[in-house]
Protein backbone atom coordinates (compact mmCIF):
# COMPACT_ATOMS: atom_id res chain seq x y z
CA UNK A 1 0.00 0.00 0.00
CA UNK A 2 2.78 2.34 1.05
CA UNK A 3 4.73 1.45 -2.05
CA UNK A 4 1.66 2.01 -4.25
CA UNK A 5 1.33 5.51 -2.84
CA UNK A 6 5.01 6.19 -3.47
CA UNK A 7 4.72 4.96 -7.07
CA UNK A 8 1.71 7.22 -7.55
CA UNK A 9 3.57 10.22 -6.11
CA UNK A 10 6.59 9.66 -8.33
CA UNK A 11 4.32 9.15 -11.31
CA UNK A 12 2.49 12.39 -10.56
CA UNK A 13 5.82 14.19 -10.23
CA UNK A 14 6.78 13.09 -13.76
CA UNK A 15 3.39 14.10 -15.08
CA UNK A 16 3.56 17.53 -13.44
CA UNK A 17 7.06 18.10 -14.79
CA UNK A 18 5.83 17.21 -18.25
CA UNK A 19 2.88 19.59 -17.96
CA UNK A 20 4.99 22.46 -16.65
CA UNK A 21 8.04 22.10 -18.90
CA UNK A 22 6.02 21.77 -22.01
CA UNK A 23 8.91 22.11 -24.42
CA UNK A 24 9.77 18.39 -24.31
CA UNK A 25 6.17 17.28 -24.84
CA UNK A 26 5.67 19.66 -27.74
CA UNK A 27 9.09 18.66 -29.00
CA UNK A 28 7.94 15.09 -29.43
CA UNK A 29 4.65 16.21 -30.97
CA UNK A 30 6.56 18.28 -33.47
CA UNK A 31 8.84 15.33 -34.14
CA UNK A 32 5.84 13.11 -34.94
CA UNK A 33 4.23 15.74 -37.11
CA UNK A 34 7.39 16.58 -39.02
CA UNK A 35 8.35 12.92 -39.63
CA UNK A 36 4.93 11.97 -40.90
CA UNK A 37 4.79 15.05 -43.08
CA UNK A 38 8.16 14.16 -44.61
CA UNK A 39 6.83 10.64 -45.24
CA UNK A 40 3.73 12.13 -46.84
CA UNK A 41 5.93 14.18 -49.16
CA UNK A 42 8.12 11.17 -49.96
CA UNK A 43 5.68 8.31 -50.49
CA UNK A 44 2.19 9.84 -50.76
CA UNK A 45 -0.28 6.90 -50.64
CA UNK A 46 1.75 3.76 -49.91
CA UNK A 47 0.34 0.27 -50.32
CA UNK A 48 -0.72 -1.47 -47.12
CA UNK A 49 2.46 -3.50 -46.66
CA UNK A 50 4.65 -0.41 -46.87
CA UNK A 51 2.23 1.54 -44.67
CA UNK A 52 2.52 -1.13 -42.00
CA UNK A 53 6.30 -1.20 -42.10
CA UNK A 54 6.61 2.59 -42.01
CA UNK A 55 4.15 2.86 -39.14
CA UNK A 56 6.10 0.58 -36.84
CA UNK A 57 9.47 2.03 -37.73
CA UNK A 58 8.13 5.49 -36.93
CA UNK A 59 6.74 4.16 -33.64
CA UNK A 60 10.20 2.85 -32.82
CA UNK A 61 11.86 6.23 -33.43
CA UNK A 62 9.17 8.13 -31.57
CA UNK A 63 9.66 5.81 -28.63
CA UNK A 64 13.42 6.35 -28.54
CA UNK A 65 12.93 10.13 -28.61
CA UNK A 66 10.13 10.19 -26.07
CA UNK A 67 11.69 7.83 -23.57
CA UNK A 68 15.39 8.74 -23.86
CA UNK A 69 15.21 11.78 -21.64
CA UNK A 70 13.31 10.11 -18.80
CA UNK A 71 16.46 9.20 -16.88
CA UNK A 72 18.83 11.74 -18.39
CA UNK A 73 16.77 14.64 -17.03
CA UNK A 74 17.29 13.54 -13.42
CA UNK A 75 20.32 15.35 -12.08
CA UNK A 76 22.74 13.72 -9.68
CA UNK A 77 21.41 15.63 -6.69
CA UNK A 78 17.84 14.73 -7.49
CA UNK A 79 18.76 11.04 -7.82
CA UNK A 80 20.32 11.21 -4.35
CA UNK A 81 17.07 12.64 -3.04
CA UNK A 82 15.01 9.85 -4.63
CA UNK A 83 17.48 7.41 -3.18
CA UNK A 84 16.59 8.59 0.30
CA UNK A 85 12.81 8.68 -0.11
CA UNK A 86 11.90 5.76 -2.38
CA UNK A 87 12.99 2.22 -3.14
CA UNK A 88 14.48 1.45 -6.56
CA UNK A 89 11.54 -0.80 -7.42
CA UNK A 90 9.04 1.99 -6.82
CA UNK A 91 11.13 4.44 -8.78
CA UNK A 92 11.48 2.27 -11.86
CA UNK A 93 7.81 1.22 -11.76
CA UNK A 94 6.75 4.87 -11.70
CA UNK A 95 8.99 5.56 -14.69
CA UNK A 96 7.62 2.54 -16.57
CA UNK A 97 4.07 3.65 -15.86
CA UNK A 98 4.68 7.21 -16.97
CA UNK A 99 6.50 6.25 -20.16
CA UNK A 100 3.79 3.74 -21.03
CA UNK A 101 1.21 6.49 -20.76
CA UNK A 102 3.34 8.88 -22.80
CA UNK A 103 3.88 6.29 -25.53
CA UNK A 104 0.19 5.42 -25.52
CA UNK A 105 -0.73 9.05 -26.28
CA UNK A 106 2.01 9.39 -28.88
CA UNK A 107 1.12 6.09 -30.54
CA UNK A 108 -2.56 6.92 -30.90
CA UNK A 109 -1.72 10.41 -32.12
CA UNK A 110 0.65 9.12 -34.77
CA UNK A 111 -2.00 6.61 -35.85
CA UNK A 112 -4.44 9.49 -36.40
CA UNK A 113 -1.84 11.46 -38.37
CA UNK A 114 -0.92 8.38 -40.39
CA UNK A 115 -4.50 7.74 -41.44
CA UNK A 116 -4.95 11.44 -42.28
CA UNK A 117 -1.83 11.84 -44.40
CA UNK A 118 -0.97 8.40 -45.72
CA UNK A 119 -4.39 6.83 -46.23
CA UNK A 120 -6.17 4.21 -44.21
CA UNK A 121 -5.60 0.56 -45.21
CA UNK A 122 -6.87 -0.84 -41.88
CA UNK A 123 -9.71 -3.34 -42.08
CA UNK A 124 -10.21 -4.12 -38.39
CA UNK A 125 -9.98 -0.71 -36.76
CA UNK A 126 -10.64 -1.71 -33.14
CA UNK A 127 -8.10 -4.54 -33.30
CA UNK A 128 -5.49 -2.26 -34.82
CA UNK A 129 -5.98 0.39 -32.13
CA UNK A 130 -5.55 -2.34 -29.55
CA UNK A 131 -2.33 -3.38 -31.27
CA UNK A 132 -1.03 0.19 -31.25
CA UNK A 133 -1.67 0.35 -27.50
CA UNK A 134 0.01 -3.01 -26.91
CA UNK A 135 2.91 -2.15 -29.22
CA UNK A 136 3.48 1.26 -27.65
CA UNK A 137 3.47 -0.37 -24.25
CA UNK A 138 6.02 -3.03 -25.27
CA UNK A 139 8.33 -0.50 -26.89
CA UNK A 140 8.17 1.93 -23.99
CA UNK A 141 8.93 -0.75 -21.39
CA UNK A 142 12.04 -2.03 -23.14
CA UNK A 143 13.36 1.44 -23.94
CA UNK A 144 12.71 2.79 -20.44
CA UNK A 145 15.04 0.19 -19.02
CA UNK A 146 17.61 0.82 -21.73
CA UNK A 147 17.37 4.56 -21.04
CA UNK A 148 18.31 3.80 -17.44
CA UNK A 149 21.36 1.87 -18.64
CA UNK A 150 22.33 4.59 -21.14
CA UNK A 151 21.92 7.33 -18.51
CA UNK A 152 24.18 5.44 -16.11
CA UNK A 153 26.76 4.96 -18.84
CA UNK A 154 26.64 8.77 -19.29
CA UNK A 155 25.88 8.35 -22.95
CA UNK A 156 23.44 10.02 -25.28
CA UNK A 157 20.48 8.49 -27.03
CA UNK A 158 22.74 6.99 -29.70
CA UNK A 159 23.94 4.20 -27.43
CA UNK A 160 20.32 3.52 -26.52
CA UNK A 161 19.55 2.78 -30.15
CA UNK A 162 22.58 0.51 -30.42
CA UNK A 163 21.58 -1.40 -27.30
CA UNK A 164 17.90 -1.44 -28.05
CA UNK A 165 17.51 -2.31 -31.71
CA UNK A 166 18.65 -5.92 -31.52
CA UNK A 167 16.56 -6.51 -28.41
CA UNK A 168 13.40 -4.98 -29.84
CA UNK A 169 13.50 -6.84 -33.20
CA UNK A 170 11.62 -9.94 -31.92
CA UNK A 171 8.80 -7.81 -30.52
CA UNK A 172 8.63 -5.70 -33.67
CA UNK A 173 8.47 -8.87 -35.78
CA UNK A 174 5.54 -10.13 -33.72
CA UNK A 175 3.81 -6.74 -33.84
CA UNK A 176 4.17 -6.44 -37.61
CA UNK A 177 2.82 -9.97 -38.02
CA UNK A 178 -0.19 -9.10 -35.92
CA UNK A 179 -0.85 -5.81 -37.65
CA UNK A 180 -0.54 -7.48 -41.04
CA UNK A 181 -3.42 -9.67 -39.92
CA UNK A 182 -5.36 -6.58 -38.82
CA UNK A 183 -4.85 -4.94 -42.22
CA UNK A 184 -5.63 -7.95 -44.41
CA UNK A 185 -9.37 -8.65 -44.56
CA UNK A 186 -9.16 -12.45 -44.59
CA UNK A 187 -6.56 -13.20 -41.92
CA UNK A 188 -7.54 -13.80 -38.31
CA UNK A 189 -5.41 -12.30 -35.57
CA UNK A 190 -3.54 -15.09 -33.75
CA UNK A 191 -4.28 -14.95 -30.02
CA UNK A 192 -1.19 -16.87 -28.94
CA UNK A 193 1.07 -14.22 -30.49
CA UNK A 194 -0.71 -11.53 -28.45
CA UNK A 195 -0.26 -13.61 -25.32
CA UNK A 196 3.42 -14.05 -26.16
CA UNK A 197 3.82 -10.26 -26.44
CA UNK A 198 2.07 -9.70 -23.11
CA UNK A 199 4.30 -12.37 -21.53
CA UNK A 200 7.38 -10.59 -22.89
CA UNK A 201 6.13 -7.31 -21.41
CA UNK A 202 5.64 -8.91 -18.01
CA UNK A 203 9.14 -10.37 -18.30
CA UNK A 204 10.59 -6.91 -19.02
CA UNK A 205 8.78 -5.41 -16.00
CA UNK A 206 10.08 -8.13 -13.70
CA UNK A 207 13.62 -7.82 -15.03
CA UNK A 208 13.51 -4.04 -14.56
CA UNK A 209 12.41 -4.36 -10.95
CA UNK A 210 15.08 -6.99 -10.25
CA UNK A 211 17.96 -5.33 -12.10
CA UNK A 212 17.36 -1.61 -11.52
CA UNK A 213 18.68 -1.60 -7.91
CA UNK A 214 22.12 -2.48 -9.30
CA UNK A 215 22.00 0.42 -11.72
CA UNK A 216 21.08 3.30 -9.51
CA UNK A 217 23.60 2.84 -6.70
CA UNK A 218 26.86 4.61 -7.43
Amino acid sequence: MQSLRRIYTLFRKDLLLEVRQQYSFYGILLYIGATIFVLYMAVEEPESKVWNGLFWVIQLFICINAVAKSFLQESRGRMLYFYSVASPGDFVLAKLLFNSLLMLVMGLLSLVLFTLFLGNPIEKTAAFIGLVVLGGWSLSLVFTFLAAIAAKAQQNAAIMAVLGFPIIIPQLLLLMRLSKAAIAPLLTIPTDTILLLVALDVLVIMLSVILFPFLWKD
Partner: protein, 230 residues
Protein backbone atom coordinates in the same frame (compact mmCIF):
# COMPACT_ATOMS: atom_id res chain seq x y z
CA UNK B 1 42.78 -24.22 -14.72
CA UNK B 2 45.78 -26.48 -14.40
CA UNK B 3 43.74 -29.65 -14.67
CA UNK B 4 44.76 -31.27 -17.89
CA UNK B 5 42.40 -34.22 -18.37
CA UNK B 6 39.62 -32.25 -20.02
CA UNK B 7 42.00 -30.71 -22.52
CA UNK B 8 43.10 -34.21 -23.54
CA UNK B 9 39.43 -35.20 -23.72
CA UNK B 10 38.73 -32.17 -25.91
CA UNK B 11 41.50 -33.07 -28.38
CA UNK B 12 40.44 -36.75 -28.46
CA UNK B 13 36.77 -35.90 -29.03
CA UNK B 14 37.56 -33.47 -31.83
CA UNK B 15 39.95 -35.90 -33.54
CA UNK B 16 37.21 -38.54 -33.23
CA UNK B 17 34.67 -36.07 -34.65
CA UNK B 18 36.77 -35.35 -37.72
CA UNK B 19 37.78 -38.94 -38.45
CA UNK B 20 34.50 -40.68 -37.65
CA UNK B 21 32.42 -37.78 -38.97
CA UNK B 22 34.03 -38.00 -42.38
CA UNK B 23 34.51 -41.77 -42.66
CA UNK B 24 31.54 -43.46 -40.98
CA UNK B 25 28.35 -44.32 -42.79
CA UNK B 26 25.49 -41.80 -42.75
CA UNK B 27 21.82 -42.15 -43.74
CA UNK B 28 21.11 -40.97 -47.27
CA UNK B 29 18.46 -38.28 -47.19
CA UNK B 30 17.48 -37.20 -50.72
CA UNK B 31 17.90 -33.45 -50.27
CA UNK B 32 21.04 -33.66 -48.17
CA UNK B 33 23.12 -36.65 -49.32
CA UNK B 34 26.67 -36.47 -47.97
CA UNK B 35 26.33 -32.85 -46.82
CA UNK B 36 24.55 -34.25 -43.77
CA UNK B 37 28.01 -34.65 -42.23
CA UNK B 38 28.06 -30.89 -41.74
CA UNK B 39 25.68 -31.54 -38.83
CA UNK B 40 28.73 -32.42 -36.71
CA UNK B 41 30.15 -28.95 -37.32
CA UNK B 42 27.34 -26.49 -38.06
CA UNK B 43 24.90 -27.48 -35.31
CA UNK B 44 27.73 -27.92 -32.79
CA UNK B 45 28.83 -24.31 -33.35
CA UNK B 46 25.41 -23.04 -32.27
CA UNK B 47 25.35 -25.39 -29.28
CA UNK B 48 28.79 -24.16 -28.22
CA UNK B 49 27.72 -20.53 -28.74
CA UNK B 50 24.60 -20.91 -26.59
CA UNK B 51 26.55 -22.68 -23.85
CA UNK B 52 29.27 -20.00 -23.85
CA UNK B 53 26.68 -17.19 -23.72
CA UNK B 54 24.96 -19.00 -20.85
CA UNK B 55 28.25 -19.24 -18.96
CA UNK B 56 28.71 -15.51 -19.61
CA UNK B 57 25.25 -14.89 -18.13
CA UNK B 58 26.14 -17.00 -15.08
CA UNK B 59 29.27 -14.92 -14.54
CA UNK B 60 27.29 -11.67 -14.90
CA UNK B 61 24.86 -12.86 -12.21
CA UNK B 62 27.75 -13.92 -9.98
CA UNK B 63 29.32 -10.46 -10.42
CA UNK B 64 26.14 -8.75 -9.24
CA UNK B 65 26.04 -11.06 -6.22
CA UNK B 66 29.66 -10.73 -5.10
CA UNK B 67 31.05 -7.62 -6.88
CA UNK B 68 34.28 -9.43 -7.68
CA UNK B 69 35.88 -8.10 -10.88
CA UNK B 70 37.14 -11.60 -11.73
CA UNK B 71 33.58 -12.58 -12.70
CA UNK B 72 33.29 -9.57 -14.96
CA UNK B 73 36.46 -10.55 -16.84
CA UNK B 74 35.00 -14.07 -17.22
CA UNK B 75 31.68 -12.75 -18.51
CA UNK B 76 33.34 -10.60 -21.14
CA UNK B 77 35.71 -13.30 -22.41
CA UNK B 78 33.00 -15.98 -22.62
CA UNK B 79 30.82 -13.58 -24.60
CA UNK B 80 33.71 -12.79 -26.97
CA UNK B 81 34.43 -16.46 -27.68
CA UNK B 82 30.69 -17.09 -28.04
CA UNK B 83 30.61 -14.46 -30.79
CA UNK B 84 33.44 -16.26 -32.61
CA UNK B 85 31.50 -19.53 -32.48
CA UNK B 86 28.39 -17.75 -33.75
CA UNK B 87 30.35 -16.44 -36.74
CA UNK B 88 31.68 -19.95 -37.43
CA UNK B 89 28.09 -21.20 -37.23
CA UNK B 90 27.16 -18.71 -39.94
CA UNK B 91 30.12 -19.76 -42.04
CA UNK B 92 29.36 -23.48 -41.87
CA UNK B 93 25.67 -22.74 -42.42
CA UNK B 94 26.43 -20.70 -45.53
CA UNK B 95 28.48 -23.55 -47.00
CA UNK B 96 25.77 -26.10 -46.21
CA UNK B 97 23.05 -23.85 -47.56
CA UNK B 98 24.85 -23.23 -50.83
CA UNK B 99 24.75 -27.00 -51.55
CA UNK B 100 21.20 -27.72 -50.39
CA UNK B 101 18.94 -24.65 -50.55
CA UNK B 102 20.51 -22.70 -53.37
CA UNK B 103 18.59 -24.17 -56.25
CA UNK B 104 19.41 -22.65 -59.65
CA UNK B 105 15.92 -23.54 -60.90
CA UNK B 106 14.22 -21.59 -58.14
CA UNK B 107 14.31 -17.82 -58.72
CA UNK B 108 13.63 -17.17 -55.00
CA UNK B 109 17.25 -18.04 -54.25
CA UNK B 110 18.78 -15.58 -56.66
CA UNK B 111 18.90 -12.76 -54.15
CA UNK B 112 20.60 -12.54 -50.79
CA UNK B 113 17.59 -10.93 -49.13
CA UNK B 114 15.32 -13.90 -49.89
CA UNK B 115 17.60 -16.20 -47.95
CA UNK B 116 18.48 -13.74 -45.18
CA UNK B 117 14.78 -13.52 -44.30
CA UNK B 118 14.96 -17.04 -42.88
CA UNK B 119 13.71 -16.86 -39.25
CA UNK B 120 16.56 -18.89 -37.79
CA UNK B 121 19.08 -16.60 -39.48
CA UNK B 122 17.27 -13.57 -38.09
CA UNK B 123 17.31 -15.06 -34.60
CA UNK B 124 21.01 -15.80 -34.78
CA UNK B 125 21.76 -12.34 -36.20
CA UNK B 126 19.86 -10.73 -33.31
CA UNK B 127 21.89 -12.81 -30.86
CA UNK B 128 25.18 -11.68 -32.33
CA UNK B 129 24.06 -8.03 -32.56
CA UNK B 130 23.10 -8.09 -28.88
CA UNK B 131 26.56 -9.23 -27.90
CA UNK B 132 28.22 -6.72 -30.22
CA UNK B 133 26.17 -4.04 -28.46
CA UNK B 134 27.38 -5.48 -25.15
CA UNK B 135 30.98 -4.97 -26.28
CA UNK B 136 30.24 -1.39 -27.42
CA UNK B 137 28.57 -0.60 -24.09
CA UNK B 138 31.58 -1.96 -22.20
CA UNK B 139 34.05 0.11 -24.16
CA UNK B 140 32.03 3.29 -23.69
CA UNK B 141 32.47 3.31 -19.88
CA UNK B 142 35.84 4.16 -18.38
CA UNK B 143 35.37 3.40 -14.70
CA UNK B 144 36.12 -0.28 -14.09
CA UNK B 145 33.53 -1.03 -11.38
CA UNK B 146 30.81 0.92 -13.10
CA UNK B 147 31.55 -0.79 -16.39
CA UNK B 148 31.34 -4.19 -14.74
CA UNK B 149 28.05 -3.39 -13.04
CA UNK B 150 26.25 -1.80 -15.98
CA UNK B 151 27.42 -4.35 -18.51
CA UNK B 152 26.40 -7.22 -16.21
CA UNK B 153 22.92 -5.73 -15.99
CA UNK B 154 22.75 -5.42 -19.77
CA UNK B 155 24.08 -8.96 -20.19
CA UNK B 156 21.28 -10.40 -18.04
CA UNK B 157 18.58 -8.26 -19.65
CA UNK B 158 19.76 -9.05 -23.17
CA UNK B 159 20.01 -12.78 -22.52
CA UNK B 160 16.46 -12.87 -21.19
CA UNK B 161 15.22 -11.12 -24.32
CA UNK B 162 17.43 -13.23 -26.58
CA UNK B 163 15.82 -16.51 -25.57
CA UNK B 164 12.43 -15.77 -27.13
CA UNK B 165 14.07 -14.62 -30.33
CA UNK B 166 16.20 -17.72 -30.75
CA UNK B 167 13.88 -20.42 -29.42
CA UNK B 168 10.30 -19.21 -29.84
CA UNK B 169 9.95 -16.87 -32.79
CA UNK B 170 11.52 -19.09 -35.45
CA UNK B 171 8.90 -21.72 -34.55
CA UNK B 172 5.92 -19.54 -35.32
CA UNK B 173 7.22 -18.19 -38.62
CA UNK B 174 7.41 -20.32 -41.75
CA UNK B 175 10.88 -21.59 -42.58
CA UNK B 176 12.98 -23.76 -44.86
CA UNK B 177 15.42 -24.54 -42.10
CA UNK B 178 15.03 -28.01 -40.56
CA UNK B 179 13.97 -28.39 -36.94
CA UNK B 180 10.78 -26.36 -37.17
CA UNK B 181 8.98 -28.37 -34.48
CA UNK B 182 11.01 -29.01 -31.36
CA UNK B 183 14.71 -28.80 -30.76
CA UNK B 184 16.80 -29.28 -33.90
CA UNK B 185 18.98 -32.41 -33.75
CA UNK B 186 17.79 -33.30 -30.24
CA UNK B 187 14.50 -34.99 -31.17
CA UNK B 188 14.71 -38.76 -31.30
CA UNK B 189 13.02 -38.85 -34.69
CA UNK B 190 15.25 -36.14 -36.18
CA UNK B 191 18.54 -37.87 -36.30
CA UNK B 192 19.71 -41.38 -36.92
CA UNK B 193 21.28 -43.55 -34.18
CA UNK B 194 24.54 -43.81 -36.11
CA UNK B 195 24.85 -40.04 -36.27
CA UNK B 196 24.00 -39.62 -32.63
CA UNK B 197 27.18 -41.55 -31.78
CA UNK B 198 29.25 -38.80 -33.35
CA UNK B 199 26.99 -35.79 -32.78
CA UNK B 200 26.97 -35.80 -28.97
CA UNK B 201 30.75 -36.26 -28.58
CA UNK B 202 31.18 -33.50 -31.18
CA UNK B 203 29.03 -31.06 -29.17
CA UNK B 204 31.05 -31.79 -26.04
CA UNK B 205 34.33 -31.51 -27.93
CA UNK B 206 33.56 -28.15 -29.54
CA UNK B 207 32.23 -26.73 -26.28
CA UNK B 208 35.37 -27.85 -24.44
CA UNK B 209 37.47 -26.19 -27.13
CA UNK B 210 35.54 -22.95 -26.60
CA UNK B 211 36.04 -23.15 -22.84
CA UNK B 212 39.74 -23.88 -23.33
CA UNK B 213 40.25 -20.82 -25.55
CA UNK B 214 38.33 -18.71 -23.05
CA UNK B 215 40.39 -19.84 -20.06
CA UNK B 216 43.55 -18.87 -21.94
CA UNK B 217 42.08 -15.45 -22.75
CA UNK B 218 41.02 -14.95 -19.14
CA UNK B 219 44.50 -15.81 -17.87
CA UNK B 220 46.07 -13.38 -20.34
CA UNK B 221 43.65 -10.63 -19.32
CA UNK B 222 44.24 -11.18 -15.61
CA UNK B 223 48.02 -11.04 -16.16
CA UNK B 224 47.66 -7.79 -18.12
CA UNK B 225 45.50 -6.30 -15.39
CA UNK B 226 48.06 -7.28 -12.79
CA UNK B 227 50.72 -5.43 -14.78
CA UNK B 228 48.58 -2.30 -14.82
CA UNK B 229 47.70 -2.46 -11.14
CA UNK B 230 51.22 -3.05 -9.82
Amino acid sequence: MRKIWWKIACVCLLVYTFIAGILLDVPHVPALQETIRNLYFHVCMWFAMMILFSVSLYNAIMYLRHFDLKYDVNARQYAAVGIVFGMLGYGTGAIWMSYTWADPNNPAFQSFSAIAREPKLIGAAIGLLVYFAYMVLRDSINDMDKRARISSVYNIFAYAMLFPSIWIIPRILPSLHPGQEGNPALNTSDIDGRMRLIFYPAVIGWTLLGVWITTLKIRLKLLNDKKILS
